[in-house]
Structure formats: structure tokens, C-alpha cells
């Protein structure tokens, strides 16, 4: 983990308000593991006392890319940056996803920018699997082709039916699990809105499978110091009773095992 002043190599508007930001990063990029994130300093820090966290979409020799959506003042300020501008990042941060095992069928489930957080999982997996991706409309289905180029099977659902099947992503996932799992051992890797993560964990629990989710929490330091980003996780107290404790999403997370999360 370190701080690096990077230069923007390219900055492209994709559909649906999403942008692809590629940075020249000599030092952080090679260290990134799937599911880790970087904490990015905004261009005019006078307006913003906090950095902004983004999952690493791609990381290769000397380059790091994030895929982000313009939602508030920070991402709006980012949107004005051009190739050649400097950007300061802190990372890689957090615990990423565990390595994909050879003996299971990796199922990635994503909503919105969740696709970005899962790309490195697919890229570095020793086996091919299936990506289930959902969104409100076709504009929210990002980088499906990137996964297809890795020879992964991509299944799409949109709420308005403008791409793939109409409905929530859990609907196509459930249909698939019912009809096509054929007794194989799935392992889940999910990133997206809380509702989706909760739904995945429910299915993982019922099936007695393994599942990993990447959580999105408002962050302060990104370093484990401020305790802003906490999430309830299971814990046993001294007497062995089940209780809960706070885990820091920036440090113990953002990826957690489904079985560890205490949902409020």
C-alpha cells in the first residue's frame, strides 16, 4: 500500500454516465489483487476533505483503470479531468476476493459498477465461469464484452427489458440455478447494491455454498483509522455465544464471506 501521483492516460465517457479512467501507475498497479480498491484524491481538494474509493477495474504493467459513475460532487469534479492531468491515489487497499478455486464453478453476480470490481476475478481465474449482471436498463450493463472476450458466459437482466431478460438479476440467476447447475459446486463472487448482496448471501446460505461479496460503504481514511466504514460481522464472545462486532470495510473488507455478515 502506498501513495502515488499518477498521470491520466485516457478518460472516456461510456454510456449511462459511466466513465473509464486509465492511469499510468508504475507502483500501485502491479500490487493490485482482484477486489481491492484505490482511494483517489479529488482535483480541487479545497472543496473536498475526503478522498473517494473506487474498485480497480483493470491493472496491468504500469496501468490501472477504474470504471465510475458520476453521482455527486466528487465524481463530477473527476469528470472534468483530461489525459495528462495528475491524480493522486492511495492503494491498493483492503482485502480482495480469494483466488478462484479450480474445483468449483465461479459465478459472478454484479449490479452497476460491480462489474468493474469483478473483472480481475474473471481475468485471473484458473477456470471459466458465468457472469450474471443486472441493471435498470441497457445503459447499466457495463463491460459485458470484456468478460466475453475472456470466454466467460455473460447473462444479462434489466428491469426495463432493454437488454437481456426483463427482471432482476436474481431472477435469471435463480432460473439458472434451478435448471443448469446440475449438481456442480458453485462459488459466488458478488458486487453491487446492498439489496443484491443480501439476496446472494441468502441463496449462498440456503445452498450451503461459498460466497464472497464486496461491500460499498462511505469511507473516510480508507486506512482503518477513522472507523467510519464499519459493517457488522459475526463473532463469538468469550463464552462462545454468537454476537457481532464491527469490521472495517476498508481494511477487513471490502470483500467479506457471506457467512460472516450480520444484516441489519
Amino acid at each position: 500500500m502506498l501513495i502515488e501521483n499518477t498521470i491520466i492516460l485516457s478518460h472516456r465517457l461510456l454510456k449511462g454516465g459511466y466513465r473509464l479512467l486509465t492511469l499510468k501507475s508504475k507502483r500501485i498497479a502491479p500490487m493490485v489483487r482482484p477486489g481491492q480498491f484505490v482511494h483517489l484524491r479529488l482535483p480541487s481538494p479545497a472543496d473536498a476533505v475526503l478522498r473517494r474509493p473506487f474498485s480497480v477495474f483493470r491493472a496491468q504493467a504500469g496501468r490501472l483503470a477504474i470504471l465510475y459513475k458520476t453521482v455527486g460532487k466528487g465524481t463530477q469534479a473527476m469528470a472534468t479531468l483530461c489525459a495528462g492531468d495528475e491524480i493522486n491515489i492511495l492503494g491498493p487497499l483492503g482485502q480482495g476476493f480469494p483466488n478462484v478455486r479450480k474445483d468449483t464453478l465461479p459465478l459472478l453476480v454484479a449490479g452497476g459498477y460491480g462489474m468493474a470490481a469483478l473483472y480481475l476475478v474473471a481475468q485471473r481465474a484458473p477456470v471459466k465461469g458465468i457472469v450474471f449482471v443486472g441493471g435498470a436498463g441497457a445503459d447499466d450493463i457495463l463491460c459485458a464484452d470484456d468478460f466475453r472476450r475472456l470466454d466467460w458466459d455473460v447473462r444479462v437482466a434489466t428491469e426495463d427489458g432493454s437488454a437481456g431478460k426483463k427482471g432482476l438479476v436474481t431472477r435469471i440467476l435463480d432460473a439458472w440455478l434451478n435448471k443448469e447447475l446440475h449438481g456442480r459446486q458453485p462459488e459466488f463472487f458478488a458486487c453491487g447494491p446492498n439489496g443484491l448482496l443480501k439476496a446472494i448471501c441468502k441463496r449462498v446460505g440456503r445452498g450451503g455454498w461459498d460466497g464472497w461479496i464486496s461491500m460499498d460503504r462511505h469511507m473516510g481514511c480508507g486506512l482503518g483509522a477513522c472507523l467510519a466504514c464499519v459493517q457488522k460481522v459475526c463473532k463469538r464472545d468469550a463464552a462462545g455465544r454468537e454476537t457481532w462486532a464491527w469490521a472495517r470495510v476498508c481494511t477487513e473488507g471490502p470483500v467479506f464471506a457471506c457467512r460472516d455478515i450480520v444484516w441489519d
Binding site: 502506498l2 476533505v49 475526503l50 492511495l90 481514511c221 486506512l223 482503518g224 459493517q231
Partner: protein
Amino acid sequence: MNKPKPDLSVRIGGLVMQNPVMTASGTFGYGPEFARLMDLNRLGAIVVKGISLKPTQGNPTPRLVEVPGGLLNAIGLQNPGFDGFVRDYLPFLRHYRAPVIVNIWGHTINEYASIAERFNDLPGVHGLELNISCPNIKHGGIAFGTDPKMARRVITAVRARTRLPLITKLSPNVTVIAEFARIAEACGSDAVSLINSFPAMAIDIEARRPILANITGGLTGPAIHTIALKMVWETARAVKIPVIGMGGITSAREALAFIIAGASAVAVGTANFSEPLSTLAVIKGIEAYLVRHRLPSIRALVGTLETGAVIPKPRGPGRPCA
């Protein structure tokens, strides 16, 4: 010809720091969080997150929200308690030369006194910072730090139980903060530090709900700097013990303003979040300033504000404690 390096060292009670730059409690964790990014030995002192007798869960989330010029937090003093701190963090901190100051708090005078006592003879802890901004659960939730009587009692109780250098950290939520500094001085504090965060709140107007789960939080960051500066200036003129200034330091500029206003040392808080290396930049900037202004030591700068006028001291006589 090599210019001699200016002397940055300062003394807070019995504690000697190699430079006047500390971390503000709660913004630097317990040390390890920043240790991979910087050499902790370069700090004047490491002030850790507030510790209470027992572990504390703190508030539900969201606990933090960015606001214009600052940050609101309502962490709720989450901490692993005395035992957790000693077990999980103290061994790590003992590897460093930089003095470690533990910020302590409680909900009753007794809790305050007990936690203070437990740090006596604990190698690796070099001072205590007494956070009196906590609500007093026995007295209707009024903060210890905003009621002169309660402040006097809690400081006296802690002083009686600790042999460590004692820094009392003052709440800004009072009319005349210098009054509380004099109480701290009279009751045996070795120094005062100020300011803690300001009670504040943010609202999501679309949902018509508070943004923080705790409804209200504490404002910190650049927005509070000019208020903190006035409080430090008034406090430094009212007491003889050292004053530690904090609130909105983002660079050496604000740190130097505190020092010129009378602070002997400073602490960097919120800035650690956007710039984890802020403390080091502040140290460097202070040193450069001393060189540029040909000052031999930081002590030569403390309280040198020229107001061009005789200004009456803050009201109220310096009374003995109790």
C-alpha cells in the same frame, strides 16, 4: 556554509517531543494504520484514538459526512477498551521512539479516574490526553467539558490517579474557553489541547432525515480553523501551561498560525484522511519557515503575534482548583 538546523523540540510537562507536530486523536487510529505509509518516528507524538475502560461499539452508520470545508463525524468513540488497546496495539507502538499519548474518556468521574490509573507504569505510554467533551451520564448528559464544576471534578480526579503528563482536551462548545483552560491549569493539568469538534448536523433534504445515524456529529476540518485560532490565542494568554492547538490544519500555514497565536505544539486531524502524510508536510513546512525567518527554535516563535495594542486578558480571575 551550512546553516544550523533550527531546534524544533518542545516540552509538554515532563514530555519532550522532537517537534511540535502531533496527530489528533481519532484521526490516526493507533499507529499501525499509517505505519506502512510513513515513519512514525518522525512525529512529535502519536496521539491515539480515545480509549475507555471497557470496549465501546460506538454509533450505527453512517458515521461520517463531508460538508463544505469540513467533515461531520459521529463515530461514537468506538474502541477496544483498555485491555484491547494494551493487547492489540501497545506492543506495536513500543517499537517506536515517538512518544505515545493516549486519549482517554469515560461517562462518569469514576470511569475517567480508573482508566487514567491503569496507564501508570505501563511502558510505552508517555502521556494522557483527557477528553472532557463526553456527555456525563450521571448528570443528564451535559458534557463534562462545558460545565466548570464538572470539569474541575473530573480533572482533579484524573490528576490524583495518574503520574503521566496530563493534557486536558477542551471542548469548543463554551462561551469562554480560556475559563476552562484555567480550570485545567489550576487542577494540575500539564497542558491543554484545543479544540475538539463542534456539535453540528447535516440533513438529507430529499429524505428529510439526518444524514448521520446519530443525528448530530462533530464538525472538524478547515471550516473550524479560524474559530480554533481565536480560542487558542485567548487560551494562551490566560494560562502558563503549554497549549496544543488543533482544528483545520492542512498545511504548515495553519500550524504556524496556532504557534504564533501562542500554541507550543499542534495536532493534525481531518487532514490525515485526504493526505495521510500531512503531519510530515507540516513538520517540513514549519522547519522551512524557521529557516526563512532566521529563528533558532520553534520556541522563539510561540506567541509572537503582534497585535499593536494592549488587549485585556480574558475575564475571570485565575482561581485555585476545588
